[in-house]
Amino acid sequence: MSEKPYLHIKNLKINFKSFEGEKTIINIDEIKINKGEAYGIIGESGTGKTVLALSILQLLEMPPGKIVNGQILLEGEDLLKKTQKQMQREIRGKKISMIFQDPMSTLNPVFTVGEQMIKVIIENQKLNKKEAYRKAVEMINIVKLPDAERVMDKYPHELSGGQRQRVIIALALSCGAEFIIADEPTRNLDVTIQAGILKLIKELQRNLKVTVLFIANNPGLISATCDNAGVLYKGEIIEKGTTKEILKNPQHPYTFTLLNAIPKNKDTKIDLSKVIPPNDGEEIKEGCIYYNRCLKKQENCKKEQKLINVKDTHYVKCSLYKEGVNNEQ
């Protein structure tokens, strides 16, 4: 496991300024993503998943956003040190492509799919129009849209939500992206359409060795697609490890709570006393981010917490843990 991570986020802290002053939105100790793997981020609404994704591409609005400190290393090179121009020329849409929740934020409604794809391909590769057309058709076939040539002539609004997401993935592939950030790409899609998109993303990772950062608020999506994952709570990675470890053997009180709050079936009642932390209102300035809702808090929790390695690649940010000890809950 000593291989160098493909993407390495270190001590990243991002603040947002508002009328009420500055607020920390992201405070991540470390995320390591290996080349060719699918890495998942699990987090509820408003925990900073999109802010994290945008910051990797330097697409965060600044101000109000502000990088306080940290590094985002892509193959050892700090993306945060690059200028907007460099990001545009070398990274965005070239090496890294992003798939948003809303596909229309990426597609231009006044051009056909074909026009948009050919433009991107010509910009990125030394191909003439005819070759670019062929390449575009090839990519549409890869993302399994039937009738590629007809799809080329369509405007985005003539496609369904699932078809649009496929076009965006085809766009990403056609400019040779080796890293795809998917920010809840199936949030607005029907479950049967979602299934197809999940499979497609997994295939790209497996067969084309594309590295994937998959962001979701539904742990089930991460379970099926990602090898490793991190849990984000109020901007902090509070637990990370293999997806299996996190979902089957959660250690952090928050992860445990989250997973136990998901309904299963009629015969397994959710035990609210285990699940629902009453927000007792006691806010602390330093220390554990989960303190005011935690059922297991103790005096120690008011100190600053660090990610602790409890087992193999499993890390937990909680005072209940010591290096190398895996508590069963």
Binding site: D190, L198, S223, K266, L272
Partner: protein, 326 residues
């Protein structure tokens, strides 16, 4: 489904076609067959889960039942009374027994009204209570849904999503309804708030002898709450019956496909997710024969020509499929 005095609601061959107008004279050129012949009975105290892909007609079905939109054809019998033949006054009287809670409470709660007026509105308008009577009633309702009574003098935006959903529930329960329709009640709130809302809904149901129709895209929520489920595809019910049984062993090819498409935390491999080919066909021109035949992996010749009837395949289950027999 035969007559049963225990039924709070009986829906009989209900249809709702939305006209599509086109051309210079705005002539009706065709119809969206959003609900196309649905029959279903709901017993008192039961939770009926309604599932199916987006656009299959779930919301239209309940809106038609609630008489919020005009039915095209069919009958709805609520508590022994045929709803569509009632006069305005009787209809208004009966409407207070049927309430609805929508997906995003932010949009269904008027942002410029105090919570006291939001919850108090049905008490004032429909029950004709005086403002002196309303305030203590509102406070009681707030406490019943787990909010403090000080909340009465706040605006909706001062509450979190989960709390707003509680306000919507308090309002729906203000007039002591018998039937509550929950249309995606938890899909805009986080998992922890969802667990609390589901718990609250369960407790209120017991306490006030309520009957629920629950619509949700989240099958785990439906499985958790429902006694019966109805699976809809393109305006029709394709499978109906005991919720536990159907979740354990879905029989209709569409139900099977729908369930297999959804990963949960126990889905370890992408191969465990099964995808359905193609998109949902248009409800304007639904496929001939079985509406599911364009995507069904098990279709046989007859499926292309003849529409399957919804029949009992065992004591507790109805399906509409040519390859399923009792």
């Amino acid at each position: 489904m035969n007559n049963n005095t225990n039924n709070i609601l009986e829906i009989k061959n209900l249809k709702k076609y939305f006209p599509i107008k086109s051309g210079f004279f705005s002539k009706v050129s065709s119809y969206v067959k959003a609900v196309d012949g649905v029959s279903i009975d709901i017993e008192k105290g039961e939770v009926l889960g309604l599932v199916g892909e987006s656009g299959c007609g779930k919301t239209t079905l309940v809106n038609t039942v609630l008489n919020l939109i005009e039915p095209t054809e069919g009958e709805v019998i609520f508590d022994g009374k045929e709803m569509f033949s009632l006069n305005k006054k009787d209809l208004r009287d009966i409407r207070k027994y049927i309430q609805i809670v929508f997906q995003d409470p932010f949009w269904s709660l008027n942002p410029r009204m105090l919570v006291k007026d939001i919850i108090g509105e049905p008490l004032d308008v429909q029950a004709g209570m005086s403002s002196l009577e309303i305030v203590p009633k509102v406070e009681e309702l707030l406490e019943m849904v787990g909010l403090s009574k000080e909340g009465a003098y706040k605006y909706p935006h001062e509450f979190s999503g989960g709390q707003r959903q509680r306000i919507a529930i308090a309002r729906a329960l203000a007039l002591m309804p018998k039937l509550v329709v929950l249309d995606e009640p938890t899909s805009s709130i986080d998992v922890l708030s969802q667990a609390q809302i589901l718990d609250l809904l369960g407790k209120l149901k017991e306490k006030f002898d309520l009957t629920y129709i629950l619509i949700s895209h989240d099958l785990s929520v439906v499985s958790y709450m429902s006694d019966k489920i109805a699976v809809m595809y393109l305006g029709k019910i394709v499978e109906y019956g005991d919720s536990r049984k159907i979740f354990e062993d879905p029989k209709h090819p569409y139900t099977q496909a729908l369930f297999a498409a959804i990963p949960d935390v126990d889905t370890e491999n992408i191969e465990d997710i099964i995808t359905l080919e193609g998109n949902v066909p248009s409800a304007i021109n639904p496929p001939q024969g079985c509406r599911f035949h364009t995507r069904c992996p098990k279709a046989i010749d007859i499926c292309f020509k003849q529409e399957p009837k919804l029949i009992n395949i065992d004591d507790e289950r109805l399906t509409a499929c040519h390859i399923l027999k009792s």
